[in-house]
Amino acid sequence: MHFLKFVLVALLGVSFYSHANAELDDVVVLEKKSGHTNEFNISRSHYSQKIEKIMNSVNESVLPALEMREDPGSWKLKAVLVGIGLNVEAGLGPIISVAAKSRFQLIYTKNGTPYTP
């Protein structure tokens, strides 16, 4: 019985702490899915860690390929744009995951010509 009380009081404390910090911690993420938008509150630390991890992983796979390539002829690869799809998976707490498809765009220009969008 004492243990149950202890658990309830602990939960009360956690809930109070969570309430007090909700506004400071959460990042609002809107996910477009099947024609409507779902809203999620994701903790700042989870958002930050997940985005950093996903971006580093995508970037680490892009960089070696870019470093290794040589451009023969008069055309040179000047810029690469990588679009990364992200999903939100709802569960006990929403988490961010990388979507199956990412998009790449390669920009070539003639050697010596700066790229102007």
């Binding site: 809930s15 099947s34 509150n41 744009l81 990364i84 799809g85």
Partner: protein, 421 residues
């Protein structure tokens, strides 16, 4: 503790949990006066400030932790998009089939001007000298890609719709090249249209639900008449109406700038450009496309600070300015997005020019709000290079922050600091 009954603890626990959920749901709601339905002043709002700061800051801090390459290639830019939900909550936008975050890698010998984010994965540039054959080549390329995807159900319809859209776009580009715009303070620099191909073979303006190939057409405005002889009949009907709209818009921008110059700038940021979605109904009824309308393209206005043009402020545009602005919106009733018939389901309203100018002023205030928040972001390696708030226009001409569900309300573009490159 002995005297504290379990029921009270459980009650308090539930109350706080429910309160916490409600608190979160109410957090960061865009105030009503920021929407196009309200004519009130969009004043700064403490909740919106906090949530905007949080989203700007969390992304800046996350970028600081990231590996940005070395050697020949560097991660130079990152773009995040924010949107407003149906409940009015501002948040980071993610979605199926959409890139939630865009990363830009540049060669180390490229300047920071080489930002490429505004280009869609498939982009076609047209010029006034483009022949029908070269236009057909563009459509053949898209047809190949669409057919390879195995999702096209009606290739003949797709081919016909593509050619219609390409030709319509080229025709508009040529018309814009001929426009007699008095370029004092502002100029039109570009005309763009994003289209989406659907499995049914439709080619729809903007990003369509279920669209599987998205591409962009671009036209650089050069004010030249080359290659326009074959369009004389269409131009003679459409040109005066388009000239009146464009001159009116430039005049509106100048009037707002004169009345409220402070709204154009914020520490570290200044207004560089402005674009509108151009709508058309029938042969010659041009207007600004409202959020619900099918636009023929996006018209990009840029500042034009050349001295001799700025001097010429009291222009023909102001002397002949009409008291209303055309707004093209979706007509009531059933809607079809088939390329050829979309303009038949639209209507043109005459909005009061003063309401529209007040709407522009509201947009500048809202833009300045985001610029102010962006100027406060602190990051070791990155800075916010550009913010692009998007607005929607009501049928009465009023302007508000874009609340169309799933559409971008604000694009946030980070660039690596020079010393980190």
């Amino acid at each position: 503790m002995k005297h504290l009954p379990n029921r009270i603890i459980i009650f308090l626990l539930l109350t706080l949990t429910v309160s916490s959920c409600r608190h979160r749901a109410e957090n960061s709601v865009v105030p009503p006066e920021w929407k196009s339905e309200s004519l009130g002043e969009p004043e700064s709002n403490i909740k919106l400030e906090k949530s905007t700061d949080r989203m700007f800051d969390v992304n800046a801090k996350t970028l600081d932790q990231m590996n940005s390459g070395s050697g020949k290639w560097q991660l130079s830019g990152m773009i995040f998009e924010l949107a407003v939900s149906a409940e009015g909550v501002l948040g980071l936008l993610m979605g199926e089939g959409e890139a939630a975050v865009k990363t830009i890698w540049l060669r180390n010998d490229q300047s920071s001007e080489s930002f490429v984010h505004k280009i869609k994965p498939i982009s076609f540039s047209f010029q006034s000298k483009d022949s029908p054959q070269s236009i057909e080549k563009h459509s053949d390329l898209l047809m190949e890609m669409a057919t390879a995807s195995g999702k096209v159900r009606d290739p003949q319809l797709l081919k016909s719709n593509l050619m219609f859209k390409f030709n319509q776009f080229v025709e508009m580009g040529k018309l814009l090249n001929l426009s007699e715009l008095e370029q004092a303070g502002w100029k039109i620099s570009e005309f763009r249209q994003v289209l989406s191909i659907t499995a049914e073979g439709d080619v729809t303006p903007g990003v369509a639900l279920g669209g599987f190939i998205e591409f962009e057409m671009r036209w650089n405005i050069e004010n030249e008449s080359e290659g326009t002889q074959n369009f004389a009949g269409i131009f003679s009907r459409r040109k005066p109406a388009l000239d009146a709209l464009l001159n009116g818009l430039v005049s509106d921008l100048r009037a707002i700038e004169d009345e409220a110059p402070a709204e154009y700038e914020e520490k570290g940021f200044e207004l560089e450009g402005f674009y509108i979605e151009l709508g058309v109904k029938g042969e010659s009824d041009f207007g600004i496309a409202s959020a619900s309308a099918s636009a023929v393209g996006k018209l990009v206005f840029k500042r034009n600070d050349e001295e001799d043009l700025v001097k010429n402020k009291k222009s023909l545009a102001e002397r002949s300015l009409v008291s209303s602005v055309n707004i093209v919106s979706e007509a009531p009733g059933p809607v079809s997005f088939t390329a050829q018939s979309s303009s038949n389901f639209q209507q043109v309203s005459r909005a009061n020019r003063n309401v529209f100018r007040r709407g522009l002023h509201r947009a500048l205030k809202m833009g300045r709000f985001f610029a102010r928040r962006a100027s406060k972001v602190e990051s070791k390696k990155w800075y916010i290079k550009e913010i692009e708030p998007e607005f929607e226009i009501a049928v009465n001409g009023n302007v508000g922050l874009s609340t169309l569900e799933g559409s971008t309300a604000l694009a946030l573009e980070f660039e690596r600091k020079d010393e980190e490159k």
